[in-house]
Symmetry: D2
Subunit: 184 residues, 4 copies
């Protein structure tokens, strides 16, 4: 039985004569809309990096990628649980931001196998969620993400994200696990 | 800088050809609307108990009060942090549900000073929030609550609540601190 | 600057003459130890199912697998974000418990490609975390899990988990993403 | 049934040959120990302000009080749900930090009734919890706090706190409700 069950014939007006506008609200929770917006933002950022790479070269792509990582991931919280799609042992995971940057734009001798995932000319990126679990101050998603290449072909990956909201109210990725589909 | 900053000219449609309706959503977070609804529900329940007491007597009032406490407080989680307005040492706090029931409807020899706050004939109960802080899976509120007595007089108390959402998705009070106004 | 900075020469004894034992504690948070225990429990359960399958047959293995899923995953919360290692399109994700059961022990016509991952005779299962992020009421992990087959060969997978604690205080898996290593 | 139930005869060693020391840990949860430490820190800070006021005057007391408020409360998150013991209508609540500072050390024309609670010469401050509820990323406490005055007399108040951990890992008060005991 819910508490709201008791709201019945004896109607109670909330905030009646009191100015609701003056109530101070701090909301550190994550709404479904915010989660979907963050996923959309990640896809947009990837396509933007690919576009800038094509138009202005790798230097500008690297600069934008760094801005995206600083804005979108939670590296300043201590570590990010990041397993990109195409990394190999022994550098499968990228707990530091330089490892993330290398994955997206390559060019870092410390990560010799990284070719730059964001430099592959993606023209479209589409989020296709299977399930979303909002735990309150964190939210998890799982599903497919579909990437369209310059030749129009589509690559689908399985992707999990965990998001949290930081003190400034911005959403940050704290877990990102991406993998190619198993083909049986 | 927010992640959504990157949603720009390269527009990305989320869930485009994929049926959003099929996405499984579990949301254990607390929205502002749910918090205000729970506060409203508490006030309604109090007025309802007073009305039933007047119409049908204390037995029915006690039965309803027990239902309200079971539905609205988190006693089944282990303990509730409850400091009612009119309790005295050494029974100031009511960490168990029988202590809460006694406060609202009296009649329990273990709590000899309880007269039954919900039996005082309240005809109106109004929530007047100063501030709300939503931490995600819990939410705190502070403000005045104004109670109208049968003679039309209004008593205002200072009241804090902390709410959580249980596994069934129902909102429960885990902290409730109420106190008479300090008059200087 | 931390609040505890102010604990200095003017020493204050907490709970001095007051019996700390009487304080009511409800703790819905997840400790690092609890997270590691849950991971260990998952590995143990998998090896146990393999052992029972070998000793007593698939019927007993199925019964145990069902118990494990009911105890370890959060299906009763609405859905689990589960991408097992060896599932294929269009049944990549298993948001319902029957999909999880089929993955572990097979034998369900609705999931024709499932062969039963827990029936493969695993003799050892080892968790090898890269990073752990505890958000309070939820905790995320990412890393390798190493499975030893009957012939002694080891298969390593990349695995992410998100855990929450339910109202009863038990830890449950709400996200589980497992994938074979990318080989370049 | 708990997941750890399955850890049985088939013993699994976690982190066996893999160096646990290399695991990246981010913990934004609140432990019981951290909560008690924060309460203790608040009491210590109050006694320290009283001591500095006596030794060096109100100017130094004000400076320390400001440092304490900035370190201990969550005003930078947007608002704090603060109902001090001795405030009166219409300034009962102190959602902004200048209102908190005025309460503790007085001397602000905007708050004419504030005399400076921390200037009253408190020589001892003792936390006496009734109940603690840890929701994960937030924690609530309720109980008595006992203040010893210069003449040795003790004043007991009923006090609730809600704490959260900020991005830097420091604990902050987001709700503080204090009230004189009801005497019947």
């Amino acid at each position: 039985m819910k508490l709201t069950h008791f709201i019945g014939s004896v109607s109670i007006v909330l905030f009646a004569s009191h100015a609701a506008a003056k109530v101070h609200i701090v909301n550190q929770g994550l709404s479904e809309k915010e989660v979907l917006g963050a996923q959309n933002g990640w896809c947009s950022a990837l396509v933007n990096i690919s576009a800038i790479h094509k138009d202005k070269g790798v230097k500008h792509a690297r600069k934008l990628a760094k801005e995206v990582i600083d804005a979108a991931y939670g590296y300043q919280m201590g570590a990010v649980l990041f397993k990109p799609t195409l990394t190999v042992v022994p550098q499968t995971f990228r707990p530091t931001s330089d490892g993330a940057l290398s994955y997206f734009v390559g060019g870092d001798k410390k990560y010799p196998n990284d070719k730059g995932f964001a430099l592959m000319g993606w023209t479209k990126c589409e989020v296709d969620n299977d399930s979303v679990f909002i735990a309150g101050n964190s939210a998890s998603t799982i599903g497919k993400v579909h990437f369209t290449a310059p030749d129009g072909s589509v690559t689908s990956v399985d992707k999990s994200w965990v998001f949290v909201k930081d003190d400034a109210g911005d959403i940050r990725i704290v877990l990102h696990h991406s993998s190619l589909e198993y083909k049986g």
